[in-house]
Symmetry: C2
Subunit: 309 residues, 2 copies
Amino acid sequence: MISSESYTIVFDWGSSNLRASLLNSSREILEKQESPFGIRFVPEKNFESILLELLDPWISQLPSGQLSLVALGMITSRNGWVEVPYVQCPASVEDLAKGMLTQPLRNQLNLHFIPGIIDTSSQPFSDVIRGEETQIIGLGVDKDQIIVLPGTHSKWVRTLQNRIHRFQTFVTGEIYDVIQKHSFIASLQTEGTPSDQAFERGAKDALADYPQAEALLSALFNARKGVLSAQIATDDVAEYTSGLLIGHEFRQAAQCGWFTEGESIIIVGNNRLCARYQQVAQWAGLQVELGRLDAAEQGAMTLLEAKGK
Amino acid sequence: MISSESYTIVFDWGSSNLRASLLNSSREILEKQESPFGIRFVPEKNFESILLELLDPWISQLPSGQLSLVALGMITSRNGWVEVPYVQCPASVEDLAKGMLTQPLRNQLNLHFIPGIIDTSSQPFSDVIRGEETQIIGLGVDKDQIIVLPGTHSKWVRTLQNRIHRFQTFVTGEIYDVIQKHSFIASLQTEGTPSDQAFERGAKDALADYPQAEALLSALFNARKGVLSAQIATDDVAEYTSGLLIGHEFRQAAQCGWFTEGESIIIVGNNRLCARYQQVAQWAGLQVELGRLDAAEQGAMTLLEAKGK
């Protein structure tokens, strides 16, 4: 297809870090780099200098005629380098490719920005993502699937009829973080090794079918009630609460129509949080597949090719 | 009924403060005092000295033969003065009176401790309260009622057949506090005057009937989505979120079987938070009565009399 080897650098530049991958024309990742220079740490929007310095070891060794750069993530937002308008859901590969913006760099290389997407069907206000759309494209939109991307703000995404159909954000990770640092949960928790069962117990209490399980604002008090009644060890408070919150995310996702028992979902990521989501998904009666870890790189390649057509 | 005038000092000694009232035998409150010496600030459990010093202006002027002292709240817990075992729900006036403990003070006065109550029907763990049971007795258990006590940890309480039947804790106030101080909500919020509609909008979004309204962990992202889509002013973020959380407490309480539309509830308290609960209750389709503000004092008198019988 391509006569001489060409290369692509794909980078996800988010608020708190920058992750770059170098791929060949067979879409194999040759090298990776990560920098803590998230966009909020970049002074005076001096993005180009920081990027070129970081990528110099790659760029200086590669033939410039055969190198493309593709950016995704918060770098395309108002606080980023170039604000790229959102593409509306349902969004196909072609829709996203059409929404890409290209900007020449001072070294003559072209940098292509991938747009985020907006779901105007989200109630009461539109929801938006920047970066995850590329991962979804990399996983493939040719099948109708439910994809979960765990994180501080986790995303549930539906693909349907070759499009990213809709998505929903859950701020579970951030709520866990602030309550285990700043609430009565922090006062209860002690420093010992938590038991292996604490997380599971929390998740299963969230998924239980008695009426009180419905009420997260009440269930968050479980840890304290459990400690008072000697049912939860103080070493287990944070783990229990983590299970409870992720369990509630699944409970609430089901109530929002994301899945019914027995269905399959794809979970993307390989960190500890993803392993937790995988466990809870199974307890919620779901079949779980793990998404490929290079979804962002593959999605960027797909979009770059579609744009070139 | 009583030949010469007698007096009672009722005090609610909680974790963060002490509130004392002096009543005559007609149950009229003659004077009130408040001290910031909550039980967690009392060194070496030196409760008696602090109490007698605070109450000295009253005690020294009253005939000791006609003075009783009644304590309620966290002072009866393990970290308090005397740990009084919980009385089990459903609990009548007589059950609570029987559970009271009496201790003579060094000045020969008797101090009566009112027990807290435990609801072992609460799932997955028993729930407990110390202090609110006395307010409920003061409001009266002769009618079947739903009583809401707003606070950092609000309580929903059901009276039935002359008993405190069951209750449930919602940690809504604390969750609001930590997220508006420490989460993305804090970053979004600006210092200007919020609009009058922001709180109402949040509450009504919580009570809405589209499926996404079900999911609190997702709805907490509304403020950010609303700001991004220019539907919420950054000055309104905290007010919107306060409405959203209290609205969710009502939504979740309804799901736990606490009420159906058109029913009546009693809200106890006269602070800003209670006014907010009153508004949300009305938006949730409830009839609202306000409970008497001296419910704790009246309840303590009722229990003291029942104990004397």
